[in-house]
Subunit: 307 residues, 2 copies
């Protein structure tokens, strides 16, 4: 029985010529740390749900990635985060959107899945639920980052927003995610984001929408997306990969390539996804210059890549 895990830290205009060697090392180190955390859980016989949760927690705790600690500033100078998780075994799912001050939104999404009768909770209601569940909260200052603050300042009085930003990446889709297959044959997917810089109007992207940015089904695959969220919602992208396998008879590579290089491109969307099927096969296609990504499988495969 194969098992394995894949993760991403966002996709977009990531060019090697604009990356310093030190910065590159930091990213690779961050991805490696998160991957190892998931790999260890799976190797010990732990569940796919546990592996994707802990992997995403590691990425959320790393300020390099736009999720959790590294979340960008919204229009009000706050950090508004979305996350979702799905269990391929029973199609159970949980999601939160527009939550503030929770250290790990993915844990809050998991609590929604496991401890509520609902799938998706938003805003104050979601936060009230999180407090009731004693989900860990932190001060607003925990999320402060000088670089992200400066970039927000530069556009905060405009109507502009950015999908993510760092010095070299004017167009980087800031999302993190993980997908896994465990030794028991169960698939799971988890996705988390800090949204868009200067984001207004309580915008919800694909990351917290089951079917759009995140999906898992033991009969087919587990998928986590990163990209221009609005297009990923309109194409119901994560579920699209699963349907192309289940109903279209495609394999994971054919399905995920078709979704990223044909179907999402056709309406103008860009980004990428990571996916693992029930046999432990992993795909990580993207139609942008780069995607922070990595994977490990019991077949002896390990990759950490950016471009």
């Amino acid at each position: 029985m194969n098992f394995g895990i894949a993760l991403h830290g966002g996709a977009g205009t990531i060019l090697k010529k604009e990356m310093t060697l030190d910065k590159e090392k930091e990213y690779l180190f961050g991805l490696e740390a998160a991957l190892s955390r998931g790999e260890k859980i799976l190797s010990k016989g732990g569940s796919a749900i546990e592996a994707v949760t802990e992997t995403v927690v590691e990425l959320e705790n790393n300020s390099l990635f736009n999720a959790g600690k590294g979340s960008v500033f919204n229009h009000l100078g706050k950090h508004e985060m979305d996350a979702s998780i799905m269990n391929g075994k029973d199609l159970n799912a949980g999601a939160v959107c527009c939550v503030e001050q929770f250290k790990n939104p993915i844990i809050l999404a998991k609590l929604v899945m496991e401890k509520s009768e609902h799938v998706m909770l938003t805003g104050n209601g979601a936060m009230e639920f999180g407090e009731k569940m004693n989900c860990e909260k932190v001060e607003e200052s925990y999320f402060f980052d000088q670089l992200r603050y400066d970039q927000w300042q530069s556009i905060k009085d405009s109507d502009h927003f950015q999908l993510d930003h760092s010095i070299n990446n004017p167009k980087k889709f800031g999302t993190v995610g993980a997908v896994a297959l465990d030794q028991h044959g169960n698939l799971a997917a988890a996705t988390s984001t800090g949204g868009m810089t200067n984001k207004k109007f309580g915008r919800i992207g694909d990351s917290s929408i089951i079917g759009a940015g995140n999906y898992a089904n033991n009969n087919t695959c587990a998928v986590s997306c990163t990209g221009s969220g609005e297009y990923f919602i309109r194409n119901v992208t994560a579920y699209d990969v699963s349907c192309l396998m289940e109903m279209g008879g495609l394999d994971l590579k054919e399905a995920s390539d078709k979704v990223i290089h044909e179907r999402i491109k056709k309406i103008g969307g860009d980004g990428g996804l990571i996916a693992i099927d029930k046999n432990g096969h992993i795909e990580m296609p993207f139609n942008t210059e780069g995607m922070y990504r990595g994977c490990w499988s019991s077949k002896g495969i390990k990759k950490i890549e950016i471009y």
Copy 2:
């Protein structure tokens, strides 16, 4: 070229023996009025988007249905509404959730689709956007209904919530929706809801989620769902019908029956959906005792039914 429209006003435990003749007449009259409004638009060559919007507006303005004016009370004694709309021509879509005091949430969702760069807006942000767009607001009292108030009072201090309520319907899924095909071959779908009585935690159901409760694609069909929302999200129900047609080779009847009588039932979900395909064929399956529904097509078909 055929064209037509279908609508629903919710599904659930609707039993003829518990319905008075007067009440039944009111429901049939309300459905008929909404259907006529859409039919007129289509007959004059108007767009499917216009037809589904105006049909849903008519249902939102009728206090019998749980959407707009007839919205139930949430845990805080307020009326928190969700709506979504999708254009099958270009896969453009708009959705709002947890909005208060907007007379017609479907119009707000349409504004999100047409006037914003986003697909889905929630809570205060969505309302700020609506005010900026001069979308019509009304006093909280506009939504007051003694029956709905009394039922909320009876459970408001508990942790219980109800999907909808009226004297005879302890289990009625309160949603309204419309799907249409216009003379130009364009499909559209619109869905709106007032949520669940005593709803807490900013719960988002399937009605405002593209792919789950609402979907339209000129290549396949337009779908609007009503039912136990959490199950409809987990099964990505509206898009499921489209995928079974596009990738599975089923026709509209086979696809919508499979989704309602097999796929959603398998995980414990109940409810129904209305759907129209690119040839003007209409299906309205449900797995509950009844569904308020109606349809009209240029082929000379007109139906208004409850059980």
